[in-house]
Symmetry: C2
Subunit: 192 residues, 2 copies
């Protein structure tokens, strides 16, 4: 049985390599540059090997998204844990979120913009995605205010951050005043 186990290990290792390489390529040159040919060449296998791990390019994007969601949850929780007081926690969360998007634009797109074949906001939503939302909810639920459901408030606040990220990154908003915009959001939306 040891032979099969070794093969399984090697397969899993190669799968990690595919995801990591796709992510790297996407961050360096954008998702458009992540073609199955280039990806295959980068991992030093032929194209069809990719399809023995994933149904297609979409599933590879999905795998990157799940990895990214896990990291985003960690980053958000770390930022809020280190902050004192509700206002500072919300501000820290917002900064951490924007920071993640800025540092990992391709991963951010995989999670929130591209089609990775994942289910969102449903029962069969993968755990990393649920957990990333939960990380937001843990902090933002506290400042929803009376008569506003924590979930609804979190969704709305999150949407605002997402709007800032995408409009800025798409060149629709000048980037230099992101700070004041976020402050405005925190001050007005959160009930402290």
């Amino acid at each position: 049985m040891s032979v099969q186990e070794r093969k399984q290990r090697e397969r899993a290792e190669r799968e990690r390599l595919i995801v990591a390489t796709a992510r790297e390529l996407a961050e360096q040159q954008g998702w458009d540059a992540v073609t199955t040919r280039r990806l295959a060449e980068s991992i030093e296998y032929s194209q069809p090997v990719l399809y023995s791990h994933f149904r297609g390019k979409r599933e590879i994007i999905g795998a990157v998204a799940l990895q990214g969601a896990t990291e985003l949850a960690v980053a958000v929780r770390a930022s809020t844990a280190a902050a004192d007081g509700p206002r500072e926690r919300v501000a820290a969360l917002a900064r951490a979120y924007l920071d993640f998007a800025e540092r990992n634009p391709a991963v951010y797109d995989a999670i929130f913009q591209l089609d990775g074949g994942l289910a969102y906001a449903q029962e069969d939503t993968p755990e990393p995605l649920k957990d990333a939302f939960a990380a937001l909810l843990e902090c933002l639920g506290e400042v929803a205010g009376d008569g506003v459901q924590p979930g609804l408030f979190t969704e709305t606040f999150w949407a605002c951050l997402h709007g800032l990220v995408t409009l800025t990154r798409a060149g629709r908003l000048p980037p230099h005043e992101t700070g004041p915009r976020v402050e405005l959001l925190v001050d007005r939306l959160a009930v402290l």
Copy 2:
């Protein structure tokens, strides 16, 4: 000179046809389905004709975006003109914006998500885009509150609406509670 004039008219007419057809195709089957081959076939010309009007597919998307921005500005102004009082005006604007995005998803993407080769938030930004932002500013600038620049407030409010639109349309937010989310935005962000 009349012959040249006629030819110019026909050329302009064909250009309108290209843009209208691209828009229609995109709304019906999504931008991925708007290929140069399909588009050429729809207007009953060969592919290279498209390139005698536009540098490439990107510029066609840009043309649709400009058309859409003009319509968005009209829709926003119409909604705010028909509303009484600041709060009702802001709420009407938000509804009109979301309504436009829902009714014209492909056009919305052309304006705010896709690369149409247009300059945004710069001096050489095309007039329709500037005017669409101006339409938002006219209404939202009134409710920015003390010490907050109207432009900055408009950008932030707009980003929130944009976040709601994109997350909802990408399946990241359940669509049925859009109403309460918008109410939350209007009540908290606008200073009445």
